[in-house]
Symmetry: C3
Subunit: 310 residues, 3 copies
């Protein structure tokens, strides 16, 4: 009884929490550290501060830009919010150009990085919910639109990463967040589905309760992943079962490939009709994709939560 009442109070407190400025700042810091740890990003910050700034803004406000384009609302809208842009620009400057690199070095210390990453995850809840609510105002009861906008808001930086990279002169067409979904993109999609179901009353939960549960889950999970250095998704087994049930229907060799998380090794065994249709080019693409992926994974073991801190 007391526990329930405490939970209720806690969830109300959380729902009334303001993201600006502390949580937003944590989001900017963690995002820009992730950008800075991208291969070649430091060179770009030297060669063209403007490209670096624009790329950083896409990392921080990519969700707002993407959902703006999807809903035919001005893509420049985030620029009109002066306090947030100013804050993000100051963070950008300190992370990339601070004398002696003090700010980056401090923020990269594990305890501080843990705290900041946790705070950044909290903003995810607000962004997803904001997207879902925005979509509901425009498209009453259209579940798919609500999920799409909630997802775009929460994981926009990842979803437009191909174009964000293009700003920095990098082009990796062989991969994107739909082909190789990262953990933050996945968890955001799940959040968008949950909040969309809650808003349309298919999920019998109060909004602030769902916010509390979802926030605790993503913060705890993120912390666990950073501490153990593991990039294993907590949904791997559910995904595997779902995949085997739904998407391994027609192919007689599906049993061979098994898990859809290994498309590289799997492809070599997809003989017959498929290979006949596969041109040399696309197989090259795939090979490049695989070698890149292998490289990414080896990098991940080094830089811990490089890619994951989207």
């Amino acid at each position: 009884m007391d526990l329930l009442r405490m939970m209720d109070g806690l969830s109300h407190g959380l729902a009334d929490l303001s993201m600006f400025p502390y949580f937003d700042m944590a989001h900017y810091i963690v995002s820009m550290m992730a950008l800075r740890e991208q291969p070649g990003a430091l060179d770009v910050s030297r060669a063209s501060p403007l490209a670096c700034w624009f790329s950083s803004m896409l990392y921080c406000f990519g969700g707002a830009v993407l959902s703006g384009i999807m809903l035919a609302e001005p893509a420049v809208a985030p620029l009109s919010n002066s306090p947030t842009i100013l804050l993000a620009s100051i963070v950008w400057y300190l992370i990339f150009y601070c004398p002696m690199d003090v700010v980056y070095s401090c923020a990269a210390l594990l305890p501080l990085r843990l705290l900041l990453s946790g705070m950044k995850e909290v903003t995810r809840t607000w962004k997803v919910l904001g997207g879902v609510t925005l979509a509901q105002n425009k498209y009453k009861d259209s579940l798919l639109v609500m999920i799409a906008i909630g997802w775009a808001r929460g994981a926009g930086g990842g979803l437009i990463s191909n174009f964000e990279q293009l700003v920095r002169g990098v082009w990796r067409p062989e991969t994107n967040e739909l082909l190789n979904m990262s953990y933050p993109t996945k968890i955001t999609l799940i959040g968008a589905v949950l909040f969309a179901l809650q808003q349309t009353h298919y999920l019998p939960l109060h909004k602030h309760h769902l916010m509390l549960i979802y926030t605790i889950f993503i913060v705890v999970n993120k912390t666990r992943m950073m501490l153990t250095g593991s990039s294993a998704s907590p949904f791997a087994s559910i995904e595997s079962v779902l995949y085997k049930t739904l998407f391994s229907g027609h192919s007689p060799y599906a049993a061979l490939t098994g898990d859809f998380k290994t498309p590289c090794s799997g492809n070599s065994s997809t003989g017959g009709k498929t290979s006949r249709l596969t041109t040399k080019e696309s197989s090259e693409n795939r090979d490049r994709g695989c070698s890149l992926k292998a490289k990414d994974e080896s990098e991940n073991t080094e830089t811990a939560d490089d890619k994951k801190s989207n």
Copy 2:
């Protein structure tokens, strides 16, 4: 007299025809079969069902998305139409993941494929006309906008194919539907011009008569092309004359290159000023374009109406 009255009745009947659900379903089936026959598409459907679904939706609703972006209307609008999205998703699932591959195998049988392709062509008339009318509501009497939106609606999947391929991890910058226009894109452009002229009363025809004539033409032509396996455009000679009259003005070697359908072989003979400006890179691009094109054509002879069934 009787024939005319019969024609009139037929055209009124056609104009009142509802596309949903049967004709729309044929459109989805044929589009997704074309996607499935793209090199590498089956691998993507195994590796990432979500990328495959998104790619399929771009094949089916690309026209609505593109015309939405051009008119600053929400790009997510097609998602809000639940029945059509549901129908398209069911078709997508059955084409890609049906146990024993029953659905694809059946639909690939020539008689059924002929029927479905014919029905899909019928939807083209509705889409083009829908686009033209939509543009007319926004931009009174602006012929160019009406043609652009009608074209985008009817051939959107082809026009955005570079970005649809990007979803699947494929990037072919050396070609696009403006550089190498395929038959469906061409016939849609002609339809958009005709309907725009009709709507602005430059073409003295009733709307339902034009719909009947255009529909019969595209269905008959599509059937003929599928049966003979020829990809020759019925407008080749008109195009050639138009091209020679209008676009071979300044170059003294235009007579050598002759037909603009062979830019690959033609380029080698474009000496003088052009070759001086052509860098190594762009010639590589062109070479790749040519070899790709040659490959495409050799594929086309195999998979009959792979690319054409856009």
Copy 3:
């Protein structure tokens, strides 16, 4: 006193000047000559007149299209302005397909090209001011949005050049106008900042005075650059000082790299942390970027103001 009154009269006269048709025509001619001098563009004009036309329209109206997308206004809007589109299309036809190449040969004569380029620069003032005013109507007092839209309007063709090239089958991800800003893009950005400051009354100048000063500056500067064949930016020294003050904070080897205009040579000396993060791929990208840049520069010495006449 008399000089001041004359200046005032001149600036009022300039502010009342109509861009259509003469100045607009000069803008179209210079833009399309710049397009024609791009490597491979003449081949495209032979292979696909439609792709060439679309590419030309992006060169001429790229600013309107880009600012339209950023403000969620219809991207097709420029098409609805029949007189300007008609004029641009006639210019396009004459530049690319005129018998005996009369029009291009004449316009390429230095005195005429000087005059046309000067007139084109005048349109820049109007475009930047138009963008700034448009943004101010939507976002009162948001300086950043006003700068962004003014810049996009005035230098849109350059900013979307990656996608304009894609229309012609060329893809150069390793460079863009944010990474390697060209002179027209830079001067437009400065203009957008000045006009935004003037409109928000931070800059104590009358609008027509600023228009006169800015116009004279860009016309004189453009003429000087064309006559001397130099591509040196007049702001090089200011940029260098600004860069050294603001953006060389953390790196201990910043003194070695010195000028941010030489990222190619500079990168090789960025050892330590940076090189650890730099993958083979991105270094390849950079190398390609450098060799391309070297090539561009060697081309520039040949075709004088090829790239600069954006």
